[in-house]
């Protein structure tokens, strides 16, 4: 006679609501259960998606893992300036990719399979890329500069697709704005950060579970065709919508819809696709055991403690020792340092005194 008297008997503690959080500090609660693979220091880890994916990128970089950046600013450009221009924020300089349709279209554009009709916005002072309108604080100065930057960008996207060992994607939104001419998806409504909104040419689109799943599967198929061994890790952004375009719907309800769709899509994708896994950062931040503690005063931005909790679980379950990668022996580029030292000496008063004698 079996000792199990019902299907729940003998299941591990994480299967039971009360046992997951009772008597524990919120920072100790762990809904991950088990990592699906182990990151190795040399693995090229690429990221894309909504804002929350940036935290993962930054943390992995800080821990010495091989955060795979295929579109880098020239080393003469200081890190702070480069970041303000979107370098290193994600693996390539695509800015936030809020929807899976955007991701899929980006990949297709990079391989010349899709050419949106509305492809550039001319504004005072230059040109804006409709598909990454906030990538830099000022427009591209000329059409030539715009075209050259896009060429570099597409090459970087292709490199990321073809060479990444791990691709981390954070699903952000379902609501988006599309071109009625060819269904090109804009990350922001035309008119917000460039371009002009025209209801004859632009329409609102709220993606469904099946559309999100289909788009992501198409993307994975495209990526795998060029990079069969890539592992994919999915997360859902816990950041609520800042606004909904649905006039008859509260942003609270719209957020619930959007996040539910994305969460279900991840579950389905995980079941359908090999080497595609879900990491529950969304649950870590939004779980009611936190009593909202991980959100800032605006109840939207995620506090540093929340990010730290997510990342500690990520490291615990997806790295060998749960911590930093071994120190790299990569030589540090000392050119700027050398020049700066020389110029500091130039400005030194002894030299001036010598000069005025």
């Amino acid at each position: 006679m079996s000792k199990r008297t019902n299907p729940y008997s003998g299941l591990p503690a994480h299967c039971f609501w009360s046992r997951t959080h009772r008597g524990k500090d919120i920072a100790e609660i762990d809904p991950v259960v088990k990592g699906q693979f182990t990151l190795k220091p040399k693995m090229k880890i690429a990221t894309a998606g909504s804002c929350f994916a940036q935290h993962i990128a930054k943390h992995l970089q800080g821990q010495g893992y091989n955060y795979f950046v295929t579109e880098k600013a020239h080393p003469i450009i200081a890190d702070q300036v480069a970041r303000a221009f979107g370098y290193g924020v994600f693996s390539a300089r695509y800015g936030n990719l809020y929807t899976t349709r955007q991701l899929l279209q980006l990949a297709r554009r990079a391989y010349g399979e899709f050419q949106p009709k509305e492809d550039i916005w001319e504004v005072e002072g230059g040109f804006i890329d409709p598909f990454r309108p906030n990538i830099q604080p000022a427009p591209f100065a000329s059409r030539e500069e715009f075209d050259a930057a896009r060429e570099v960008h597409f090459a970087a996207v292709r490199k990321m697709i073809e060479e990444a060992d791990v691709f981390v994607f954070t699903f952000g939104l379902t609501e988006s704005w599309v071109s009625k001419e060819d269904d090109a998806v804009f990350p922001l409504a035309p008119g917000v950060a460039g371009g002009e909104f025209d209801e004859k040419r632009h329409g609102f689109k709220n993606f469904t579970v099946s559309e999100v799943v289909a788009d992501f599967r198409d993307f994975i198929a495209l990526m795998r065709a060029k990079n069969p061994k890539v592992k994919v890790l999915m997360t859902v952004s816990p950041v609520p919508l800042i606004a909904t375009a649905r006039e008859d719907t509260s942003v609270i309800t719209a957020t619930a819809y959007s996040k539910s769709v994305l969460r279900v899509a991840c579950e389905e994708l995980q079941m359908m696709e090999k080497d595609v896994f879900y990491f529950p950062s969304y649950e870590v931040i939004t779980g009611n055991y936190t009593r909202g503690a991980y959100y800032g005063a605006d109840l939207r931005e995620v506090e540093a403690e929340g990010v730290a909790h997510v990342m500690s679980l990520f490291m615990r379950h997806y790295t060998k020792d749960g911590g930093s990668a071994p120190a790299s022996d990569k030589p540090v580029d000392s050119f700027q340092e050398d020049v700066q030292k020389a110029l500091d000496i130039i400005c030194d008063e002894e030299m001036i005194e010598r000069a005025v004698k």
């Binding site: 604080p137 110029l343 400005c347």
Partner: protein, 296 residues
């Protein structure tokens, strides 16, 4: 007879002016103004600046009252300075001691106008030595060719980089003086680059060793860096009580520093350069048509 007073403040590039002043004093030549020059890199004024904890700086004023120092810092951080190059939240500011000394000098000398030759080597930081990954950029409107076979940095990005460097250096000083005085300010750029690589290699100064190791950048890139630097300063002071000083024609040969003004080092002007510029600045400030020290 001199009736006006001109006060100059600056770092290494002020040395040419100082030598010129001494020359004029020795030879009895009178300028349109009596000049006093303050070399900010002398030990007595060190340190000029420090890095502050931004959060602590703000929280030390719980009443919300903002000192001029904090106001300037806020203007800089919100104005495309990209939070300087320092660790996040630790931007560079002038020290209080330095600011107090400068205020004292302005009060003591009571000049009719001020000129600034502060810092000025930012453009050399970017372009003097050949980078191990050679690069170039297109500067709109000047028709200077872009090198072939090197990385081309977008103009917008290069401008942002230079702006950030300026904000952390020359503009740090300009913002202070602009707030500290009502007198007209004349912002003087450093000399344009020396075209001749051999001169730089022969007199590498502090670049000794480094110049041999890396080589000197092509003159086109160095010229573009200087032009970009000047354009940024020109833009920033537009609409304020500060005049950006356009260098007089004799300074240039093909856009670079004329040979008669070369100092025996890679970046500075010589005493003749100082003489030309000191006269130029006093003419601008006190010659026919000048504001002659009227309040801003």
């Amino acid at each position: 007879m001199t009736t006006y007073k001109l006060a100059g403040f600056g770092h290494s590039h002020l040395s040419a002016y100082l030598r010129a002043k001494r020359f004029f004093e020795r030879t009895g030549k009178e300028l349109l103004a009596e000049t006093s020059l303050t070399q900010l890199n002398f030990k007595v004024y060190q340190p000029n600046y420090e890095n502050v904890d931004l959060t602590a700086a703000y929280s030390s004023n719980p009443s919300g009252e903002k000192t001029n120092r904090l106001k300037r810092l806020a203007a800089r951080l919100s104005g495309g300075g990209y939070h300087s190059f320092d660790a996040l939240n630790r931007p560079r500011v002038l020290t209080e001691n330095f600011e107090n000394r400068m205020r004292h000098i302005i009060k003591r000398d009571d000049p009719n106008a001020i000129f600034l030759a502060c810092m000025g080597n930012e453009y050399n930081t970017m372009g003097m030595l050949q980078h191990p990954e050679p690069f170039d950029f297109d500067l709109p409107g000047f028709g200077i060719e872009v090198e072939e076979g090197v990385a081309v940095i977008p103009y917008t990005l290069m401008r942002a980089q230079m702006t950030a460097l300026c904000e952390q250096n020359v503009l740090l000083f300009w913002r202070f003086f602009n707030e500290a005085t009502d007198k007209p300010i004349y912002l003087v750029p450093p000399p344009p680059p020396i075209a001749d690589k051999m001169h730089i290699m022969s007199y590498p100064g502090a670049f000794s060793g480094k110049a041999k190791q890396y080589g000197v950048s092509p003159v086109g890139l160095r010229r573009k860096m200087w032009l970009l630097y000047c354009d940024i300063l020109r833009d920033v002071v537009k609409g304020t009580g500060t005049t950006f000083v356009e260098l007089p024609d004799p300074v240039f040969v093909d856009g670079c520093l004329a040979k008669q003004f070369w100092q025996e080092d890679p970046t500075h002007g010589n005493v003749d350069y100082g003489k030309l510029m000191l006269e130029h600045v006093t003419d601008l400030a006190f010659g026919p048509g000048a504001a002659k020290g009227d309040a801003k």
